[in-house]
């Protein structure tokens, strides 16, 4: 099977999920260091971009749709991160 760009994206998404799992299972987020929370949600955001641009093919979509969806997703992740920071 010839490897395609999508295959590398999938592998990167799985690797990022592995890091998130490790941070969650190791109790790193209970240490009180906010940087771990930032890493977890930065990874979620990057994974979301991978899905939006590559799997959903928004990279080749009209710019208005691409930016509406990327911006909407970014606002949601940023909002969640803000709430986590306030907590």
């Amino acid at each position: 099977m010839k490897l395609q760009w999508l295959d590398f994206i999938w592998m990167a998404l799985l690797a990022a999920t592995g890091v998130t799992w490790w941070l969650g299972a190791s109790g790193a987020l209970e240490s009180g260091r906010f940087i771990f929370t930032v890493v977890v949600f930065a990874l979620a955001w990057l994974k979301g971009l991978g899905v939006l641009l590559e799997f959903m093919e928004l990279r080749h979509a009209p710019a208005a749709w691409r930016w509406a969806l990327v911006a909407g997703f970014s606002v949601i992740v940023a909002g969640v991160l803000l709430a986590a920071w306030l907590g």
């Binding site: 998130t20 969650g24 979620a44 899905v51 749709w65 909002g79 709430a83 986590a84």
Partner: protein, 202 residues
């Protein structure tokens, strides 16, 4: 003269670029915007409600299995990748690989549903339900609403598979599959926020 040939080569390069278009039916993209906004409000409601009930949320969350959540993430990502590969295969007019990728994607989705139902059964056995506390209200509403979307996506993908079988081999049409795939990727995208928010954030 060199400038003219440069303009011609640039216009040829532009012409070779894939046309800017949304895959599938335009209507599904409005659904994606609507569903994304709805889940976004629910995610933010969870995140900000947590501020006022931090101890309860942290205590309750320890009863969730991070590994099960990560496994479900991997299943959905893999299913999404398989469906994206199915779209490419069908566009290239290759029905058998297209159906194989689609079948693998559906299998990943079914795996997600099975693990999620097992998780619910485990919570039920522990005496945890919708009325246990505020955290589990959110947990069941968010994951249950998401699960409904997974089931709808699986139904759409299954129907696309049956549709592909009926299409003439030399004239495959990827439009319906592109539409179902866009919805399926949304289901994946939503879980990518739901997993760290509900299972990981402490």
């Amino acid at each position: 003269m060199r400038g003219v040939s440069r303009v011609f080569s640039m216009s040829a390069a532009l012409a070779e670029q894939p046309s800017r278009r949304l895959p599938g039916d335009l209507f599904i993209w409005y659904i994606i915007l609507l569903e994304g906004a709805t889940f976004g409000v629910l995610f933010l409601a969870f995140a900000f409600t947590r501020l006022w009930h931090l101890e309860l949320f942290n205590e309750s969350q320890q009863r969730l299995d991070v590994s099960a959540g990560a496994l479900n993430t991997a299943l959905l990502l893999t299913a999404s990748w398989c469906v994206a590969r199915a779209v490419l295969a069908v566009r290239a007019g290759r029905r058998r690989p297209g159906l194989a990728w689609l079948g693998a994607g559906i299998l990943g989705g079914v795996g997600f549903v099975v693990f999620k139902l097992l998780e619910y059964a485990e919570k039920g056995a522990e005496g945890i339900g919708l009325s246990t506390n505020l955290f589990f209200d959110f947990y069941f509403i968010l994951t249950g609403f998401h699960l409904l979307h997974v089931l709808a996506g699986l139904l759409a993908l299954g129907m696309c598979g049956l549709g592909l079988l009926r299409q003439p081999r030399n004239a495959l049409n990827a439009h319906a599959l592109e539409t179902a795939a866009a919805f399926w990727h949304l289901v994946d995208l939503l879980w990518l926020v739901l997993f760290p928010l509900v299972y990981v954030l402490r």
